[in-house]
């Protein structure tokens, strides 16, 4: 007796439902399956977006829900785009975004290139390198604040050992010059393994015969790297940059845990500023406009990036 799971499932359908479904067209059944997902997507993603756009044109305050909501036109946008503090938070975000991506791509690719070689303990090293990525940002932020302690922190001790400086002579999290770099270091430490994994997937997808053909043509290692390895890993690398770029544009938890946006507002990224406006000052309309500005920026960047990615893949 043959066992057909589809037939079995059909037999288990209650007769009342079976009768009702039998009368439906294929298209209707397809909608029946897809409908709940579309409804959830609309409810969770699209509705809040439209509601945020609406709120961005009002003076709504979430802590005073009974107050009359007034339409204020583009005033919220005007105020944000003429606010020097918001401008500074955008610059802090740009510094964080650019440096984390540059460092993660360089170190991640180098690590992937090294791990891709066959050597003893390869798997063990891969696991060790990937560990930071698996930790919670709250935990990472917490223990890096200890690492950065001027008196007892291991980071200050190592830097002091390497440079001959007194470890307690500098404070990574308390200094205006060093704090922006301290968050870059921690994010790079945590997320380089992610870039490494994606690059590793790219490197492992290159067939050996391409290198063998290059060897036959007497291409040097340097030439092979630039004409085979880099172009074939590029789509993967671009994907990693896209993911990290979007994530770091929205970076919040790690930085709040490390510096809380300080000292002053030197590490106050756009998302931290937004959270303060929304849930400390309760300027919901204003923060909705801020959120829309960030959304349009990320959406625009992601659009051109996806286009570039498709072009690279077509080559």
């Amino acid at each position: 007796m043959s066992f057909n799971p589809v037939e079995q499932a059909a037999k288990q359908t209650p007769p009342a439902i079976a009768r009702r479904v039998r009368g439906l067209s294929d298209k209707a059944i397809a909608w029946l399956f897809v409908g709940p997902t579309i409804f959830l997507l609309l409810a969770i993603n699209i509705f809040p977006l439209i509601w945020t756009i609406y709120l961005s044109f009002t003076n709504f305050k979430a802590n005073r829900p009974n107050r009359e909501i007034k339409y204020v036109g583009l005033r919220n946008y005007e105020r944000i785009l003429n606010d020097a503090d918001v401008w500074l938070s955008m610059q802090a975000t740009a510094h964080f975004l650019i440096w984390t991506i540059v460092l993660q791509v360089i170190i991640g690719f180098a690590l992937a290139w090294l791990i891709n070689r066959k050597f003893k303990g390869n798997d063990m090293w891969t696991t060790i390198i990937v560990l930071p990525m698996m930790l919670s940002p709250a935990v990472v932020g917490n223990f890096w604040t200890f690492f950065y302690q001027p008196q007892i922190g291991i980071f200050n001790y190592v830097i002091g050992f390497l440079t001959g400086k007194d470890p307690s002579s500098f404070e990574m999290l308390g200094s205006v010059d060093l704090a922006p770099w301290s968050i870059v270091i921690v994010d790079t430490w945590m997320w380089t393994p992610f870039v490494m994994l994606i690059c590793l997937a790219g490197l492992r997808s290159i067939p050996d015969y391409i290198y063998e053909a290059a060897e036959v043509d007497r291409a040097s290692r340097w030439r092979q790297f630039w004409t085979i390895t880099v172009p074939m890993v590029l789509p993967f690398l671009m994907l990693a940059v896209l993911f990290r770029g979007i994530e770091n544009f929205k970076m919040f938890d790690l930085v709040v845990q490390l510096t809380g946006g300080g000292p002053g507002s030197t590490t106050e990224l756009a998302s931290i500023n937004l959270k303060r406006e929304a849930f400390e000052k309760w300027r919901t309309g204003y923060s909705s406009a801020f959120a829309i500005i960030l959304f349009v920026t990320v959406f625009g960047l992601a659009s051109i990036y996806v286009k570039a990615l498709n072009k690279v893949k077509e080559r």
Partner: protein, 62 residues
Amino acid sequence: MTGFLKGIVGLRRGAWEMLATVIIALGVFMLMQPFVMWAYTYSFVTTLVGTVMFIIVSHFRD
């Protein structure tokens, strides 16, 4: 350059997407640059125009 201009006049996707890309990139740069406040003020409008243009022109023929 002539090809690009021909594409713009002939409503070709490639040329218009290129233009939209440049406008978005300019808008993002204006938003995050540390030099002049007026560029920051007009950054959002620039990015928005570029993004909307990108969505529309991606439906043009090749």
